[in-house]
């Protein structure tokens, strides 16, 4: 079998519950000022992350985007290290250099989370080509939203992926809005039609049911691993909390409450709940809370970064950048120790209160 077998309903429920509660707790940490950036919550979209993640192996490559926490957890990232990353701490998956927007975790095959929308697709096409060229059966997956499908780099990468039949899977999470722009005012033609134009098998699939997501993904993974080339899947889904946590404060009026409520009626976690006996559910819920208690504790106990480390990791070759405010690295580090970062913390907390 080229893809892992479908997890039991309880396993799907556990991971979905983990993602939902992880994001809810993260919003709390945004409000408390521990995550200064705010986050792009994936609440409402968990079924895509869980179904897709379960169809992949840990050594498959994922190029996520700014709304990628769920996909990372489903792919196997440690919740505590991911939270530490979002809080900019030393024990983060990317040593606090990626943050909430650009985390990567090579232990889970997450190579990147790109913020320039759509570019992950082209990165995945290149990674997929390389994995196949090396004779492996690993595949590369890119996740982007409905906003990404109009980007030139993404469309160019579909052409390259189809020309060279690379083992890539392009996942579009159509959550109906690109920041605030409704999909029907942004997308001419259809989303899968873009991929079909390049000869890539494409479909629109319900993204609110983890079983349905898994089956679609498993077929795409089988095709990619067996040399059958790329697949494009548009998952219909929805994010309840808007584009970014700033919307919790700034109530942008670009969608109706009724619309949010309609999608909540199809909540993927509630659907998965209905597939798990109540007693088992309670045990899972308690287990998830325990994991997250530990994750939050781990993240907040993790050391904040030392200003003297600001010059680390800019270049793989170890090249040291010239400081901007003084002649020597040593004097820059000394000066910055005196500077307060408290101002930034309180501003971020207020913005997201």
């Amino acid at each position: 079998m080229a893809h892992p077998s479908r997890p039991g309903a309880d396993d799907f429920y556990r991971t979905m519950r983990l993602i939902r509660r992880f994001e809810e707790r993260s919003i709390g940490l945004v409000r408390s000022g521990d995550i200064l950036s705010g986050i792009h919550p994936c609440i409402g979209q968990e079924a895509v992350a869980v179904g897709a993640g379960a169809a992949l192996r840990r050594d498959d490559v994922l190029m996520a985007n700014h709304r990628g926490h769920g996909h990372m957890l489903a792919k196997g990232s440690d919740p505590g290290r991911l939270l530490a990353e979002m809080a900019g701490r030393a024990d983060g998956v990317a040593r606090g250099r990626g943050g909430s927007f650009h985390p990567s975790d090579f232990t889970a095959g997450v190579f990147a989370s790109t913020g320039t929308v759509g570019h992950g697709a082209a990165l995945a096409a290149g990674a997929a080509w390389a994995l196949a060229d090396d004779g492996t059966d690993r595949v590369a997956v890119s996740v982007f939203g409905d906003g990404g499908v109009n980007q030139g780099a993404l469309l160019e990468s579909l052409n390259l992926a189809a020309l060279w039949q690379v083992p890539a899977i392009f996942i579009c999470e159509n959550n109906m809005y690109a920041t605030t722009l409704p999909v029907e005012t942004a997308v001419a033609g259809s989303i899968p039609g873009r991929a079909e134009a390049f000869g890539i098998p494409a479909a629109t699939v319900d993204g609110m049911d983890a079983d349905v997501v898994f089956d679609a993904m498993a077929a795409a993974v089988d095709r990619a691993r067996s040399g059958g080339g790329p697949t494009f899947i548009e998952f219909s889904t929805y994010r309840y909390y808007g584009h970014h946590t700033f919307e919790l404060k700034d109530r942008l009026r670009y969608r109706e409450e009724e619309e949010i409520e309609r999608w909540r009626q199809r909540d993927p976690l509630a659907l998965q709940e209905s597939r798990v006996p109540a007693g088992q559910r309670a045990a899972i819920d308690a287990e998830v809370e325990k994991v997250l208690d530990e994750a939050v504790r781990f993240a907040l106990d993790s050391a904040k970064l030392d200003p003297a480390e600001a010059f680390d990791y800019h270049y793989a070759s170890g090249l040291t950048v010239r400081p901007g405010v003084a002649k020597s690295r040593a004097s820059w580090a000394g000066a910055s120790e005196a500077a307060s970062v408290g101002g930034a913390a309180s501003a971020g907390g207020a913005a997201n209160a």
Binding site: V61, M63, G92, V93, A94, R95, G96, R97, G98, H102, S104, D105, F106, F111, A112, T114, T116, H119, A122, L123, A124, A125, G126, A127, A128, W129, A130, L131, D133, D134, A140, G152, A153, L155, E156, S157, N159, L160, L163, D312, Y313, H314, Y315, A316, S317, L319, V321, R322, K327
Partner: protein, 323 residues
């Protein structure tokens, strides 16, 4: 000794590195035929899986190279026209060059971006005449501008072996140069190491790329009255500031010849850093392109806009007479 042309040196570096390291491959437009003369023979030697002809989709294939690099490859991407480097500025400066940092060192992106037709040539128009290396230095992308065939060879080899993204600008006027070369001299040239083409004691002329030849001509012309040191940074990011400081300790006077636009060009950066941190006994000068664009369609107009030997000689005399 055999003669080696600049483009033949690039071709040889590509072939040698592909031979040495199976993870090296090249992709770009019309490379199967070697349209720019950097890739002739490589398709026959290494096959279509390592000499990959791309459709006209620079943004897509530049990101593609980044993804391949993160998965363990060492791509060389070729572009035919200078401004294409700016079409893919996002892909190079904001994607490839930031993943080592954003991943906290989990990954590296060893891609070389090769521009074998950098700068102006007569009549190619305003959209084909740019020399945007300063933009990449500004963005913190490692950037080399070789002046000679041996440096073209050595810097391309080092760029390919480097674990970070590196852009290589090959100035068109420098490509006319053929050089007697002992094959034993074809060795890697470290990134960030300058080269003194001619030693002098009165003034340091920092000349980038093909302007090295103009600087040597000025040094010849003024040889009876002024001793000119010709300093070729070879890499403009990271710049060999220690090397420049040592030269200025000796001369105390500075002129920069830079084929960038004047505003925010490398010339401006070199003058500023020298003024802030180094020994100067006279106000420095730079000879550059003007702000904005080269006309490109009329050689007469362009020659008036591009840095040249006369401007450089005048600048050297002025600096030497002012302190």
């Amino acid at each position: 000794m055999p003669k080696l042309s600049y483009l033949r040196a690039l071709n040889r570096a590509l072939g040698d590195e592909m031979e040495r390291d199976p993870s090296v491959f090249i992709l770009g437009e019309d490379i199967r035929l070697g349209l720019t003369n950097t890739t002739p023979g490589l398709l026959d030697r290494f096959g279509p899986q390592r000499v990959i002809e791309t459709p006209l989709s620079e943004q897509g294939f530049t990101d593609f190279a980044t993804g391949a690099a993160m998965a363990g490859k060492r791509p060389v991407v070729e572009y035919q026209i200078p401004f294409l480097f700016l079409l893919v500025l996002e892909q190079i400066a904001n994607q490839a060059n930031k993943f080592h940092l954003m991943s906290g060192g989990q990954t590296s992106v060893p891609v070389t971006y090769l521009l074998p037709a950098a700068g102006w040539r007569p009549g190619w128009g305003a959209q084909h005449s740019d020399e945007p290396y300063s933009i990449f230095a500004h963005a913190g992308v490692k950037t080399v501008v070789p002046a000679t065939p041996t440096d073209a060879y050595g810097l391309l080899v080092s760029a390919i072996r480097d674990d970070d993204p590196v852009t290589l600008f090959a100035p068109i006027p420098a490509q006319k140069v053929r050089q007697d070369v002992d094959p034993a001299d074809l060795v890697p040239v470290p990134l960030g190491a300058s080269r003194i083409h001619r030693s002098g004691s009165d003034v340091t002329v920092v000349a980038i790329g093909h302007l090295v030849y103009d600087a040597l001509a000025v040094a010849d012309r003024l040889g009876g009255q002024i001793s000119v040191e010709v300093f070729d940074p070879r890499t403009i990011y990271p710049f060999d500031w220690d090397g420049l400081a040592a030269s200025l300790d000796k001369t105390g006077r500075l002129v920069v010849a830079d084929d960038s636009n004047r505003s925010c060009g490398m010339g401006a950066e070199i003058l500023a850093t020298a003024a802030e941190e180094m020994h100067l006994i006279a106000p420095p000068k730079r000879v550059t392109r003007p702000d904005g664009a080269i006309v490109g369609a009329s050689p007469e107009l362009d020659v008036a806009l591009l840095p040249n030997v006369e401007q450089l000689a005048a600048a050297v005399l002025e600096v030497c007479n002012s302190g």
